[in-house]
């Protein structure tokens, strides 16, 4: 395959974004929703097309870019997420005053950056991909131009994001200065043979700072609840699913490929961060009354679960992280789809506004309930098996290193805590009666289809885990772990 062939999905995505802008300039579409559905269909075509691509053993662009099983796994994941976010955007588009086409184009550009992150094999490309995602998100988070909250979210994200990008570049410079390479494979080879000094460790820590910001892990998580609450809901969903998965795609490549030979340097750090993130996210979610803010904290908590799998540094853990990210996309997008449908009708993000949802709209109530239960890790939903694997990975590591039992214990505690706040929303949905005069909530047909798709994925992957597990295990073979 030629180099251009290797990036055809990215090219397709960029072309789609440019076409959207051009079409809007010449023949603007009156129906705000329709454009979203058309683009979602186009992305669906790309998704189907991606299954014809084969994993390649070679690298492209001077070793910067890989199209291995891992890259394809992530690319498909991002395509699914983009597809559902576009449907969400279409539902949400009525609330934008102007620039709907720009909104879709920016989503597609962010998706291009995410597609790239799956293939990154070099710090330089990593930075480019990271910035492509982050800069588009600066605009997307403040897209509701007249809402102070949205602007506040955008500003916060911009300042902290710019700071963390600065750290990342600084760290890359240190790593390059001490090892003489930015390529992950060459870095691993250099580290295997040589010793490292404090300058290298500093560089590594700075790079982890930048990635920690992307995945919203402690101590770089402060932005998440505010941005999640303030951003337009489809953007929040994309942040929670796409941006987080992109961060993990990079984190996995950096830690488990480039820095694997010096894993002793970072495992304890990741272990501590995982524990702290678990506790911060889940405890912080307890007093929340706004559903988007709650999901912001919950997303921090989920970064903690995922870090458990990274900290385990074994094949089971890497596969578990990949499976978890895959099912997390369906689960979280299902929750956000339902939230958009409800808030479109009620204009109320507060959990109290979901009272009696089970009666007002059985489909939305069920979808949100199942999504929350999957996030909490209840069988037979996919989140259960995701957590099961992550715990298994940690316990496997604990067989040789007893401190991992502590991590498993904290994870177990986090599960119980999280069940409390998820059930509080479930309580509003099913146990409480709707407010007097509350009308049934209409659900559009594409929305209904997307909800059923997500629910089927959650239940299907929760019971018949095998297809996704095998895909994840195959993708995780890229890391030479046992």
């Amino acid at each position: 395959m030629t180099a251009l062939g290797a990036i055809q999905l990215e090219c397709g995505m960029v072309a789609l974004a440019l076409l959207t802008l051009l079409a809007d300039a010449f023949r603007p579409m009156a129906d705000k929703r329709r454009l979203g559905y058309i683009l979602a269909t186009a992305v669906a075509v790309l998704l189907i097309y991606s299954f014809t691509l084969q994993a390649q053993a070679t690298t492209y662009f001077h070793g910067m870019y890989r199209l291995d099983t891992l890259a394809l796994y992530f690319k498909r994941l991002f395509l699914v997420a983009t597809l559902l976010v576009l449907v969400m955007g279409a539902e949400f588009s009525e609330r934008f005053e102007s620039g709907v086409a720009e909104f879709y184009a920016l989503v597609l550009l962010a998706a291009t950056g995410m597609l790239l992150t799956g293939s990154v094999n070099d710090f330089v490309l990593m930075f480019v991909a990271l910035e492509l995602v982050t800069i588009t998100f600066y605009i997307l988070t403040s897209f509701l131009r007249r809402q102070v909250q949205s602007l506040e979210a955008g500003t916060k994200y911009l300042i902290l994001g710019a700071l963390s990008s600065g750290f990342t570049v600084y760290g890359i410079a240190y790593i390059f200065g001490t090892t003489g390479t930015t390529n992950f494979d060459m870095l691993a080879a250099t580290l295997k043979s040589g010793t490292t000094g404090p300058a290298f460790t500093l560089g590594m820590l700075l790079v982890m700072t930048g990635l920690g910001f992307k995945i919203a892990s402690v101590p770089f998580q402060i932005w998440a609840p505010d941005v999640y609450q303030g951003a337009p809901t489809p953007v929040t969903a994309f942040l929670a699913v796409g941006s987080k998965a992109a961060g993990f795609a990079l984190l996995l490549r950096v830690l488990l490929v480039g820095l694997l030979p010096v894993s002793a340097l970072w495992t304890t750090l990741v272990l501590v961060l995982a524990a702290a993130t678990l506790l911060y996210g889940n405890l912080g979610a307890l007093p929340q009354t706004n559903i988007k803010r709650l999901l912001g904290y919950s997303s921090i908590g989920h970064a903690g679960y995922l870090l458990m799998g990274v900290a385990a540094v074994n094949a089971l853990g890497a596969g578990a992280v990949l499976f978890y990210l895959g099912q997390y996309a369906f689960t979280n997008l299902c929750a956000f789809l339902a939230i958009i449908a409800v808030t479109n009708a009620t204009k109320n993000d507060e959990i109290a506004g979901f009272a009696g949802l089970g009666r007002r709209s059985p489909v939305l109530g069920l979808a949100l309930f199942l999504a929350l239960m999957s996030l909490a890790g209840v069988p037979p939903l996919s989140g259960f098996f995701g957590k099961f694997q992550l715990f298994a990975a940690v316990i496997e590591r604990a067989q040789t290193d007893g401190q991992y039992y502590v991590l498993a214990g904290i994870g177990a505690l986090a599960v119980v805590i999280s069940l409390y706040f998820y059930l509080n929303v479930a309580k509003a949905i099913y146990l409480q009666e709707p407010a007097a005069g509350a009308a049934p909530i209409p659900v559009s047909r594409p929305m209904r289809a997307a909800l059923y798709f997500c629910m089927a994925a959650m239940i299907g992957l929760g019971i018949f885990q095998r297809p996704l597990v095998e895909a994840a295990v195959k993708a995780a073979k890229v890391f030479q772990l046992n």
Binding site: V378, P379, P380, F384, I395, G409, V415, L423, L431
Partner: protein, 513 residues
């Protein structure tokens, strides 16, 4: 035959999915489907019981000759079911209680569709846990049973205001969090065994492979004991239990007190005892002490209760104490007694809760002092309640008597002073039980008749009487002919517990070497 077992387990779940497709304005059809599914499941279970090889102590009707249906080869998970004497007994219990639970659910008038979906999913969760021989699916079904219970209590339950000042939302949240906390604690122990046992979830293979050092066994056993102990309402982790039952709708109380709670004790018997014999011996004394607290503390707590459901709730915590004491003996008689008591208490608790539900549905009051002379108006319910109370107090002729005696014999013959004292406490517990139950039944069913209960209607139609009669017949049948179950239980317990009794010998042999 093995297919029939799978069908018996999964039929309620299939019915739940089918119910999902039903229009919600046809509650009659949905209810009929639920009764049919649980009834069919009970019928299949009885048929399997009739075909059960009573000479064979191991698993029978195993899926695909023990290999199971390959599910996740990379992790060593396969879906397999199989029953031995222990799980056969408990599967019968699920069948009987779920069928009766579906029958008495006519009291639900709102959101029936969701109700029956949850009820049926719960049923499969429980019977799946009892029958699977794969540890992954054991945990899967175990956790699956928890969340339907949250909604069943929260959506359909009722908790009369009282001194406790709590709502049903509080009760159901507490219950769910306690059970989940126990479950994740147990999960850590289960996964530790999985990796130590050569990465297999197969219970039979694990029993063969697992060789854990004594120190490791001790803490893994603690994880399982306390993890499952939460669900078995082991003192001091029992506080979710009485209030949970009090808040639950009738059928949910029946399922929870009757069978769901037994999952905890079953987990200890099925996984902790055979796989971690040294751990079991290490913790047995503490377990016996906690069991005594269960029996006496909950018994005394029941003495002070006024709400019928709280009385029975505490009573069931107290009865779980006997089960735990039986487990702590680590001998065949004691553990078998515990298993039989799980069955007997399950049927008895279901009977009591269904009877309370029957009159509470009409009186909307279940405070013992407010009720008086009900037996004059509802003699059938009164008679059943008296029999249930007699069974609960361990009168001969009922299954409870046999099982409690077995537990006492097991505990006494264990030999140590601690267990002798525990046996005395347990026997004293029977007196306490009789005290509060007889008080409750005398006050509310006998004595002067209060005119305000004149509107009460007795169970008259055969359909109304069926659940009560069925449960009573089971109690009496097993009471008069305990061999029906004790034979197969004892065999399987001997096979499962054998390792516990052999353990000291091998240890001595090791030391000599």
């Amino acid at each position: 035959m093995e297919t029939l077992l799978i069908i018996a387990v999964l039929l309620p779940l299939a019915a739940a999915f089918l119910t999902f497709l039903f229009p919600s304005n046809k509650p009659g059809a949905i209810r009929a489907l639920a009764i049919l599914a649980t009834g069919m499941s009970l019928f299949l279970t009885l048929y399997i019981f009739s075909q059960f090889d009573r000479q064979n102590a191991g698993y029978q009707f195993v899926t695909n000759a023990g290999k199971g249906i390959e599910w996740l080869p990379s992790l060593g998970v396969s879906l397999k079911f199989g029953v031995d004497g222990i799980s056969m007994t408990l599967l019968l219990l699920v069948g009987i209680v779920s069928f009766c639970g579906a029958l008495v659910s006519h009291e639900i008038h709102d959101r029936q569709k969701e109700y029956y979906i949850l009820f049926l999913a719960l049923t499969t969760g429980i019977s799946g846990t009892f029958c699977t021989t794969d540890m992954f699916f054991f945990y899967f079904f175990y956790e699956m049973a928890v969340i339907p219970m949250y909604l069943l209590i929260g959506m359909y339950g009722s908790l009369p205001p009282g001194k406790h000042g709590r709502t049903k939302e509080y009760a159901t949240m507490k219950l769910t969090l306690y059970l989940t906390a126990g479950a994740v604690l147990a999960l850590i122990g289960l996964l530790a065994m999985y990796f130590a046992g050569g990465k297999t979830f197969d219970m039979v293979e694990l029993k063969r492979n697992l060789q854990l050092a004594g120190a490791t066994q001790k803490w893994v056993f603690a994880c399982l004991l306390f993890g499952f102990g939460f669900l078995a309402s082991m003192w001091p982790f029992h506080t979710w239990s009485p209030i949970g039952y009090a808040a639950a709708p009738t059928a949910a109380s029946m399922m929870h007190a009757g069978v769901l709670k037994k999952l905890g004790a079953y987990g200890i018997i099925r996984l902790a005892l055979p796989l971690l014999p040294e751990g079991a011996r290490h913790w047995a004394n503490l377990l016996a002490i906690l069991a005594c607290f269960n029996i006496l503390y909950a018994g005394w707590a029941a003495l002070t209760q006024k709400d019928w459901k709280f009385v029975i709730g505490y009573s069931s915590v107290s009865h779980m104490g006997y089960v735990l004491l039986g487990i702590a003996t680590l001998n065949v008689v004691g553990v078998s007694g515990a298993v039989l008591l799980m069955f007997a208490h399950g049927v008895m608790a279901a009977l009591t809760f269904s009877l309370i539900g029957f009159f509470y549905h009409q009186t909307h009051n279940r405070m013992v002092p407010d009720l008086s002379g009900l037996a004059r108006k509802i003699p059938f319910i009164g008679v059943c309640m008296v029999m249930a109370v007699m069974a609960s107090s361990g009168l001969p002729g009922f299954a409870n008597f046999v099982s409690e005696v077995m537990v006492f014999i097991g505990a006494w013959s264990q030999g140590s002073t601690l267990f002798r004292v525990a046996t005395i406490c347990a026997v004293w517990g029977i007196v306490v039980t009789a005290t509060y139950l007889l008080w409750a039944v005398r006050t509310s069913f006998f004595g002067p008749f209060d005119e305000k209960w004149n509107m009460l209607k007795d169970a008259t139609t055969p359909w109304q009487k069926l659940p009560f009669v069925l449960l009573l017949v089971v109690l009496l049948t097993v009471g008069f002919c305990p061999r029906l179950l004790t034979n197969i239980i004892q065999q399987s317990v001997a096979a499962a517990v054998l390792k516990v009794e052999v353990a000291p010998v091998t240890k001595v042999a090791e030391v000599r070497r």
